[in-house]
Structures are given as structure tokens and as C-alpha cells.
């Protein structure tokens, strides 16, 4: 990857992000009601997209070949259990990540 391509890529991500953040103020002036289907998707999409992002992160796991997705599965379980136990965001993220790093560097 060239440096120029990297800069362009960051420019595209930044531009699209700004576009999304300003779109509501351009599309829906405060004095007019927002269409029902927009509000409905606004309620439904966030949870679903977060779920999709988890799958996106785990797309490289190989359940049918070594290491059979074991590091991913074990670390994911660690995050879930830590979070259900303490519900401390930073602890859950740090605990799961460090455990995963130990697994892939020392065990598998």
C-alpha cells in the first residue's frame, strides 16, 4: 500500500463520516416531522450493526482447521463472562485482549 493511497483512504473515511453526521441537519429541518421509517430504522439498526461488526472481526477464524477457532472462542467467552460479572468496560476489553494475545503468542 502506498502512502498516497493511505491518505486518500483516510480522506474518504473522514468525508463519509462528516457526511453522515451532517445529513440529518440537511435532510430533516427541525421544523418538519421525521418520516416514520427513518425513526424505525434508527431504533433497529444500531444493535444489529454492532452484531455484524463482531462477526466481521471474527471472519478470519477457522473452525474447521487448526486452531479450530479456539483462541477466538475462549477470548470471546472471557470478555462475556468478565462483563457479566463486573460490567466494567475497560476490564472486559483489557482482560479478553490480553488473554487472546497470550493464547496466540504462547499456546497456538
Amino acid at each position: 500500500m502506498t502512502e498516497l493511497h493511505g491518505l486518500l483512504l483516510i480522506g474518504v473515511v473522514a468525508a463519509v463520516t462528516i457526511l453522515i453526521r451532517s445529513a440529518p441537519f440537511l435532510l430533516f429541518p427541525a421544523d418538519k416531522p421525521t418520516p416514520g421509517w427513518v425513526l424505525y430504522l434508527g431504533q433497529m439498526l444500531p444493535s444489529a450493526v454492532i452484531g455484524m461488526l463482531i462477526v466481521y472481526c471474527l471472519r478470519g477464524a477457522t473452525p474447521l482447521a487448526f486452531p479450530y477457532g479456539i483462541p477466538e472462542g475462549a477470548a470471546l467467552l472471557t470478555v462475556v463472562l468478565l462483563h457479566l460479572w463486573k460490567r466494567n468496560t475497560l476490564l472486559s476489553i483489557a482482560g479478553g485482549t490480553v488473554f487472546y494475545m497470550l493464547l496466540v503468542q504462547l499456546v497456538f
Binding site: I10, P24, L90
Partner: protein, 233 residues
């Protein structure tokens, strides 16, 4: 002037939880970016101009994989689509903020949005100043965390294999928090199930766009039933 300093201090108190999170996650982002060969100027550039936590982690992935610009644009649309709805919720709040408005819109991240929602200050010029200070402080923490993480990662060579998992862990925690807060888990469940199905059908490199389109289509098709379910609660 004195009054402004007082407001800045008040804004700081509101932002303490976000400060902890942003310094830590920003730091992790800096280390992650550095591990892919992009040093602190890249971290600074991204945290100043993109300023979207989850998307910056995904962008590291896109950079490292030499993704196409169109692919990056589509990915950004999908990952950040939720910001549309923060904007909708802030239409009224930002109506009279004047010259601050472009920055307020640019800097409306998940966390800043949640602080705005929790702010009890009555409407007026002080509230508008508070909003601006909160937005500025939050971005400052994020920029600081990411640059420090990047420099730290380059000096102290952390054996960083596997640090990518910080992204998975972040999304999993957000997912669990949303799960706990929502009365109806249909959206959370459908998001994962449809994505896994699309992953099986389209494979790891091309499943995101079909997944996102399918999720939107399924939600629109089931709108009658799902909205009724929501109202019944």
C-alpha cells in the same frame, strides 16, 4: 472569563468517564495502528479528522489490507450509519448554537452524544458553552490517547500479535450493554444471525455489504410485526 473557567471545570467533571474510556481505547488504537506500520502522524491525522472510534479501528484493517476507496466508503457508511440517528435526536438541541454548529455536528460521537443526553443544565448560553467544552474535551482525550499509544508502541516493542482482538472485545462489550438495555432483542439477534449466514454464503472478504443490505431489508419487511411488538411492551 472566570465564568467560562467555571463552565470548563463543570464540563470536565461530566467527561471523566469518557476520559477514562477514550484514553484507554485511544491508546489501544495507537498501539494497533503502529503494529501495522503506521506511526503517530497517522494516529494524529485519523483522530483529528475521522474521530470515530469503531470506524478508526476498522480503518486500520482497511489500511493494512489495502482496501479500495469505494469499499472504504461503503464500510464507513455502514459502520457509522447509526450517527444519522444521533443527529436526528440533536436537531433541536443544536438549532441555535451558532458558529459552533459545524464542530458540534462533526464531533458527535457515541460517547459525546450520551453525555449530551444526560446533561441537566437548563437551556441558555451556558448550556451551549458546556456542550462545546464537552465535545472539545472528549476529542482531546481521544487524540491524546491515540498519539501516546502510537509513540509508546513504537518505543517499547510490545509483542503485539493478537492485539486486533481489542476491536472484537470493544464491539462485544457494546453489544452486551445494548442487550441489557433493550426490552426486545430481535435486532441484536437478527444482526448476528444474518451476518453469519451471509459469511457462510459469500465468504470472509465479501459478506459485509450483503449482510447490511439483508439486515435493512429484513427490518423493513418485518416492520409491522416488530413495531407492534415494541408498542406492546
Amino acid at each position: 472569563m472566570n465564568e467560562k473557567r467555571h463552565l470548563l471545570r463543570e464540563a470536565f467533571v461530566h467527561t471523566i468517564p469518557v476520559m477514562t474510556g477514550y484514553l484507554f481505547l485511544g491508546f489501544a488504537f495507537g498501539v494497533f495502528l503502529e503494529s501495522k506500520g503506521y506511526g503517530w502522524p497517522w494516529a494524529l491525522l485519523m483522530s483529528v479528522f475521522i474521530y470515530a472510534g469503531s470506524m478508526q479501528f476498522v480503518t486500520v484493517d482497511l489500511l493494512a489490507g489495502a482496501a479500495s476507496l469505494i469499499g472504504a466508503a461503503i464500510m464507513t457508511l455502514m459502520v457509522n450509519a447509526r450517527h444519522l440517528f444521533y443527529g436526528i435526536a440533536m436537531l433541536d438541541e443544536f438549532r441555535d448554537v451558532g458558529r459552533k454548529k459545524p464542530y458540534m455536528i462533526f464531533s458527535l460521537t457515541d460517547e459525546t452524544f450520551s453525555l449530551f443526553c444526560a446533561l441537566k443544565e437548563p437551556p441558555g448560553p451556558d448550556r451551549k458553552r458546556l456542550l462545546l467544552f464537552i465535545a472539545l474535551l472528549d476529542q482531546l482525550y481521544w487524540v491524546l490517547g491515540s498519539v501516546v499509544g502510537s509513540v509508546f508502541g513504537s518505543i517499547w516493542h510490545i509483542p503485539s500479535e493478537g492485539i486486533d482482538f481489542v476491536m472484537t472485545a470493544l464491539f462485544t462489550v457494546i453489544y452486551l450493554d445494548r442487550w441489557k438495555a433493550e426490552a426486545d432483542h430481535t435486532a441484536s439477534i437478527l444482526g448476528v444471525v444474518i451476518s453469519v449466514l451471509c459469511l457462510l454464503v459469500f465468504g470472509p472478504s465479501g459478506f459485509v455489504i450483503p449482510a447490511m443490505l439483508s439486515i435493512t431489508a429484513v427490518f423493513l419487511l418485518l416492520r409491522g410485526r416488530l413495531e407492534k411488538g415494541r408498542d406492546a411492551q
